[in-house]
Symmetry: C2
Subunit: 312 residues, 2 copies
């Protein structure tokens, strides 16, 4: 087993003094996702087909790109973080499949295509979600014999971070509270709690997990965590703004749903202008905390801008 | 960090020359499960309430007892395997919650009580299942600073084994194929494949994961794997026999369902008498492979008998 000494700080900085190349990263990611899920030909075919339908549905891959960009900012190589990036996208995709179910948000369209249960039926959509979630942890835990002790330690920590973000204090907790609050009067405090859990936790796990696997030290992780908190909140605010203002063809899903179902959103609480102003302030804050990283954090900066300036 | 030398074989045998105490193990397990899931008072309350409703519903705990018994047979202590035992039961419980859903098997009763979705509604039942599954991996990956390198290595392996057993080549794959085969003519080959995946994989992960964490060597793991295969098949045959012969009050669920839905079962393929004979032969085989372990495998032997001789 290779027992390479810890890279020192200088070596790390040298290694990733270049800017982050998003196009190349996206290409590696798509190839890695292709390997992360069994082919449709594998038994039982229907479940793999449903998993792939949702995983390769034209998603923007923002979360796994955050993993790769954070790994790069911390001085890591692509191979340090690629599996973790896949696991994050698998978990994100499972959460969309289950959120869309008739018993949950009951959505017929996702990214302009029929949702998983519309295409494969409800039973298989539930199982496909379960399978995407399970696969994330299978993919993170399968043996990698060439790994050294430090890398393994980081992998455990990143996996624990992701599991926690996906659980009842994160993704699932946010969705549960969201369902409970539907049709109730908008309470800003509950709103923030829902979004921190439902959107923020997974974004934070992406950024901090990527940083950790890329070799970030504690001070760097603290900065990455601040960055993630800002873009997490901005992300949800922009989502709410787009639901209130976007068209179906832009969004690839049904707009105006939040207002129709009486859902608590940033727009219903603060109004459109103030919501937009908040998103812009959060972008500025996220760029500010990236400064100590220099050029290697260019990918994180680009993604923050993309999150706030997107139109779908 | 403690770096205790590997226990040698003699030390192991001495350590667990005693029989397995199932009553004590069950007590430790229930206490550990209590700690493995957040209390109902934790935010958001409803999801933790639903998780606990299904986790503490009078389940027989066969899988986690197999983990504990296998760990004991391999010479391990309770603390080596207790978390893994909890993770297995969390995953088993999630699979029951999702299998019972209206879109899946549509069951109203489980262990004599309303199923999770009957009590909490479909949305929360889907989320509770997701949360139980996610919690299993969170519980397995949270930091244990006192662990040494060998223990950590075993934990990774056992976690990977469990993730794979829960995935599309195991639990989920079996359920997907089961749904697909409903109402079709009984094909013995597909039947065996479904059961190996749906029931066998998790039983095998319980036994082999427990053995691994308890310190089993490769030869012991091979024997445990054979044991698991026999009881896995026996388990499903007895399930089918009970569905065909049991009463609702005995089973705590609706009997006769398999025949009513035209499901492929061991009874529909082989008839009742031959199915019973096969279960008995598999029990004998499972007891035979345990012999090299001696007294410490008493727990595994008892559990094999319990699986075949149960009436619910």
């Amino acid at each position: 087993m290779s027992q390479a000494p810890e890279r020192d700080r200088n070596a790390r900085v040298t290694r990733s003094s270049s800017e982050f190349d998003q196009a190349t990263a996206l290409q590696s990611l798509e190839a890695a996702l292709e390997r992360a899920v069994p082919p449709e030909s594998a038994w039982p075919s229907a479940i793999h087909s449903a998993m792939r339908y949702s995983l390769f549905a034209g998603g923007k891959r923002i979360r796994p790109l955050l993993v790769l960009a954070a790994g790069h900012a911390a001085g890591g190589s692509e191979s340090d973080v690629l599996r973790f990036a896949c696991a994050v996208e698998l978990i994100h995709t499972y959460s969309l499949v289950h959120d869309d179910l008739p018993a949950m948000d009951d959505d017929d369209l996702r990214r302009g295509r029929p949702t998983c249960h519309k295409k494969y039926g409800e039973a298989l959509a539930i199982l496909a979600g379960d399978a995407l979630l399970t696969r994330a942890f299978e993919w993170l835990t399968v043996g990698r014999p060439s790994e050294n002790g430090t890398q393994r330690e980081r992998r455990w920590k990143a996996t624990a971070l992701l599991a926690s973000a996906a659980g009842t204090s994160g993704l699932i907790g946010g969705q549960a509270q969201d369902l409970e609050s539907e049709g109730q009067e908008a309470d800003p405090e509950i709103l923030e709690r829902i979004h921190a859990a439902k959107t923020g936790a997974l974004l934070r796990a992406s950024v901090c997990g990527g940083g950790l696997l890329g070799g970030a030290d504690d001070a760097q992780i603290a900065l990455l965590s601040q960055y993630a908190e800002s873009i997490g909140l901005a992300f949800q605010i922009v989502d709410d703004v787009l639901d209130a203002t976007g068209s179906s063809s832009q969004l690839g899903k049904t707009p105006g749903k939040d207002a129709a179902t009486g859902k608590t959103t940033y727009v219903s609480v603060y109004g459109l202008d103030e919501a937009r102003r908040q998103a812009r302030a959060l972008l500025d804050e996220s760029l500010r905390v990236l400064r100590p990283f220099g050029a290697p954090a260019s990918g994180l900066a680009d993604l923050a801008r993309r999150i706030v300036e997107r139109e779908s």
